[in-house]
């Protein structure tokens, strides 16, 4: 699917919380608490989203069409009382663009001799 590159570029750089939420949703539909847990696990507890941050971001992502509320969430044990969110193709494209932006940045930093070799 093609998107207007300007629409994508307009959203960059993404705030870290937004990027984390998109990453969490890339793995499948999640409800709010699921997103928080996912982000916390993925970052070894370094990033803990607050409820306010989460839902404000979700509201904005919904408005801009990066995520949607699916009628039939898939991939997880579904709790019918909760609201689930799913990343849209546009959201995926934005997340990709942000990833490209970050890797370019990392390459630049490495070229400048900044990157410390990371031990596995």
């Amino acid at each position: 699917m093609d998107f207007d590159p300007d629409d994508v570029e307009d959203l960059l750089p993404l705030p870290p919380a937004t990027f984390h939420i998109l990453l969490a949703l890339c793995a499948g539909d999640r409800h709010g608490y699921g997103i928080i847990q996912d982000v916390e696990e993925r970052t070894d507890g370094a990033v803990r989203l607050s409820a306010g941050t989460l839902y404000r971001t979700i509201q904005r992502l919904l408005e801009r069409g990066l995520i949607v509320e699916p009628r039939n969430p898939v991939g997880v044990p579904v709790d019918p009382r909760r609201r689930y969110y799913r990343i849209t193709p546009f959201g995926t494209e934005v997340a990709r663009a942000e990833t490209r932006r970050l890797s370019r940045l990392v390459r630049l930093a490495t070229g400048a001799g900044l990157a410390a070799p990371e031990t596995p």
């Binding site: 608490y33 607050s50 306010g52 979700i58």
Partner: protein
Amino acid sequence: MIRLYRALLRLYPASFRREYGDEMIALFVERDAAVGAWGRVGLLLEAVAEEVPHAVAVHFEVLRQDLRFAARSLTRARAFALTAVLVTAIGVGANTAAFSVADFVLLRPLPYPEPGSLVRLCEGPREGGGWGCMNQLSPANYRDFKAMSSSFEVLGAFYRNAANLVGGGEPQRVAIAAVTPEVLPLLGVSPRFGRVFGPDTELEEPAVVLSHGLWRSRFGGDPDAVGRTVELNGAPFRVIGVMPPDFHFPSRDVQVWTPLAFTAEDYEDRTNTYVEGVGRLMAGVTFEQARADLAAVAARLAEAYPDTNEETGASFFRLRDEMSPRYRVLLLGLCGASLCLLLLTCANLASLLLARAAGRERELAVRASLGAGRERLVRQLLTESFVLTLAGGVAGVVVAAAAVPLLTTLVPGSLPIAGRPGLDLRALGIGAAFTLVTGLGIGVVPALRAGGGWGWDALREGGRAGGGRKQRLRAWLVGLEVAVSVALLISAGLLIRAVWQVQSVDPGFEPESVLTLKTALPRPEYDSPVRRSTFYDEVLSGVRALPGVESAAYTTGLPMVMTGGIWPATTPGHEDRPDWASLRFITPGYFATLGIPMLRGRDVEAADTGDRPFVAVVSRSFAERHWPDDEPLGQTFDIAFQARTVVGVVDDVRVRGLERPSEPQVYLPAPQVPEGGLINYDPKDLVVRSAGDAMGLLPRIREIVAAADPDQPISDVRMLEGVVAGDTAARRAQLNVLAALAVIALLLAGVGIHGLLAFTVSQRSREIAVRLALGAAPAGVARLVLSDGLKLALFGIVPGVLGAYAAGRAMSSLLFGVEPADPVTIAAVVTLALLMTVAGSLLPTLRAVRLSPATAMKAD
């Protein structure tokens, strides 16, 4: 815990809360379960720190969204938006202007530190009454009031004067206040440069303090002006200080302060009253306590000096209150009128917004059914009306800035404040307050109405109903508009009639084509009567020789300008009952120049010199009062230290202005003055009647005066017509504004009626079409619509007339005898209102009559 968190969530906009609140609570519960008792406290604190900024941010996001939406929907409805902004601008502008001026004159603290404790002291009748300084104090009474009262922290004295300022540019006539050393320090304002008079004033060389304005104009703002010398009435004075720009005392025309010290001789005569007191009350002493204290002192003085102080009391008032009570009525009337206009503005806009809301019912219902909460929609509507009002408010402040200068005649010159209020924070605050009131007034009612009113109904009814309740509310609003505009119109009408009545009063002289100017001869230079006569003769013979000049003369003071100058006159046998007369010294030709009719006898003549029998010309009322049954010519009476023989009788003149009764007048020949006395009665005003362009003579007159005395300044150049017009200037300023407000009000009410009828006609187009199709006569349909309009008008006219009657009674002091229930005015206004109703109904009626049944039925 959960309850606390739930309360915290109330900070978010309701729409956000409804959307995510349950989720957030669920999340909080899960976290809550995961931590221990201590962790809970931390969790809650963390939540507070987290949610408050987020809530604020969400509110801003909603606001931004609403603003974007408002901008979009308002650009679509450009005519509506423009009308709303314009109407708001007029309402806010009129109120900001009127209230800024009223606040400036009536409320705002005077520009001195702790102005509340500043008071003024004069002499007045023992029984009180009157306003302001009733009569000046004698130095002796001032001294005794000061020593015997215990209310003042400081009390000082001053008198007002004027002098010819010479040196450095054109000779200039300046207003002066001679002040005791207490006066300037007690006001609490430090000089901009230099110093003010010290306590040992009498030992110093003659010194002056200059106003900022005079320093700028005379010394070009040179800081080294302090120490230089100026010449006042021929005597040198050293400049010791310059006051700051916003300092005025005792009134704003005073530009020079000279020191005042009393000698033992000054204290001798208790009837020689020429100073006024100004003081600061002791901390903790109230105004009322001080007044009682001074009354007691006055009683003791009356006992001690029965000859002079029998009738003498203290006229004691706050520095703030030194103005005619008329200004208060004028200003309050203006404020009342502008508030009416604001009410009208709000009613009109609310009605417009209601119509808009009714027109948008479908749109809103669709949005509501798509999930937009009611709160969200109400908020959207409110934002929209606030955007409109804000734009209107900004434009209103511009309107106010333009309108305030028109109101400067309503700022009394007797107060020590600037001539007009600046557009400062206070004025802007007033503007903002009125904008807010308007925003609330026009936004909330329709929004609440809308909030309660729609849902599925609007969709189901196919948008035909329009909502009877809402139209009833609009009808109320339109009725209110009519009522307010009728009240305003009648008030303006009454005032117009009052002004006509005042202007039709015969001033007793013919002000047309009379040029006047002032050349006040300085003493002691002109102490010699011969020298004064030489000056008058030179100037007058020069002026009379100018082409077009019919006559010219000198007088002590112009009518309506010099309203005082009152002297007791006694006739033989009635020495114990003096009668007050306004006393003027004149040169021959004064009556001819002013067009005052000579009734009997003769004018003063050049032959009436100081060594000839002393004569007088009296006014008709003076003659009637003293010799009701006898021939006045040849009678003698006592005035100004001399017995005088009546040689002529002239008609009366309105010395105190068109609206006030004046004392009878006595005119004396200029040379017949007691040696060394009555300096203040020197003729100083030149009056010139000319056949052609009087103002064009001015350069020649300047040359003539300069030839007679090169150091003699000319001031107060004006046409006598302007003086008479100035007598009613404050009235006319108020009237103009009020009339403008009334006309705007009438137009707004007309627009309101038109809007409502147009709307009902379009809502009822089906019904009307059916009637027409069934054979109803167009005349019947027209009657239907017109009678709707007239019902609306009558609904407003009756309370409007009642309101006007109440307003008229409140300002009866301004009506100059016109009845508040003046039938002519009321009938005229009611006719006007009905005409306006018919005009407003015209288009909707035509549209109704021309409705084609086919199109109307097809519309849905």
